[in-house]
Amino acid sequence: MQVNEYKPKIVAFCCNWCSYAGADLAGSNRLAYPAEVKVIRVPCSCRVNPMFILRAFQRGADGVILCGCHPGDCHYTSGNYYTRRRMALLFSMLEYLGIEKERTRVEWVSAAEGAKFAATMNDFVATVKSLGENKRLEDLRCKR
């Protein structure tokens, strides 16, 4: 009989201009990253407001990663600088509430960094997998 291996659900918000292209590149270079990663394309990492992150957890995500252009390279000049501040504060708050800090991450991935994208995702999935299911920020109604 097949053993049901725990597969974490990962949501990756990727900015259209860098990280999404990076993910694309990872794909066309046939660099493997886990299928548990669900990529959501956003115009800019700055588009992601804290509610998106919480909602992803509510809907059953075990980890949420946000990828944007490297600071200084934002297509909209400064979007990712704001992202950086927001997420620093939000993640710090989540940690303060006792939610595992490894479940959230921000990575800067450029369009040329297909390999980095795949490596990041592999690493993130492994980290979240070792944490197990998201229990502290779950909505039981969505689990049944």
Partner: protein, 342 residues
Amino acid sequence: MRKCSLSNSTALFNKIAENATLYIPVDLEKGRVAYKKYADGMKMSDALKTDRSAKDFFFPQTENLMEFKTEGKSIEIIDNRSEAEDFVVFGVRACDVKSLEVLDKVFLAEPVDSYYKNRREHGVIVSMACTRPTETCFCGTFGIDASAPKGDIECYKTDDAFYFNAVTEKGEALLAKLDGVTESSDEKAVNEQKEQIKKVLDKLPLKDLKADEFGADKTDKFFNSPEWKNLSEACLGCGTCTFVCPTCQCYDIKDFKTNKGVQRFRCWDSCMYSDFTKMSAGQPRLTQMERFRQRFMHKLVYFPTNNDGMFSCVGCGRCVAKCPISMNIVKVMKTLGGKNND
């Protein structure tokens, strides 16, 4: 009348908890008091009131009504109501006991609300006389006697014992089961306590608050009073008063999309909220003044009109203590009630 010495209270609670889930008021940190599910050895609070009322047991903040599964164009309704478990709420004060009577008028009126009825049938209320009512208490205004708290079993706690008197059949049945931990007793101690309570009630600052001016069919007298504007001026439109109120029963029905279907649940709602009556076509109560007026008119006039003069306020004083801006039904009654209440 049955008696159980306080030194034996753990045995008493354990006995009750054998047959039903028992909830007792418990002291928590920072002066908070709440009903907690009894576990062996738990100590009952002597506080006058729990922060939230006993309403929660019968009409919880949120409850699932049903579930739906949808596929293509078809819908399946899953009625997942289940029989409630038997439970006992211990130490309910006279005001909260009366509040259930008020809620019954709404939920047990035809068509009967089966969710509420289910819990009402399975719940036994052991009330508790108030030996130390506080300054915010005004149950006497609505004819409630804190020395005769009613419920299914009336309970009096003296310095050394609990005294029990069954009021209803349900109460008798429970009391009969407690024979092993209680003994027969005369009424002397209880009568003394009743006298003492009456004396204290006479000293309460709100003892002279009268509801006579209000009641059935007084809509015209109060609805257009110019006082509403001043009274509601500072109202924030939050729902504190309605949520701590043991008689407020307005609810909303909402759908939640789970990952697998739709859960229809109901939750408390508040007439103080701006979207309470909002429709796509418009809004009959546009300002906070109208919403504020609705709440008090409902408690003091509309509800009595529909329920043989019964007010839907029990004078528990929670809103008096909790309102962020300290506006409350006492101030409303004093302002609108005219000379009678000066």
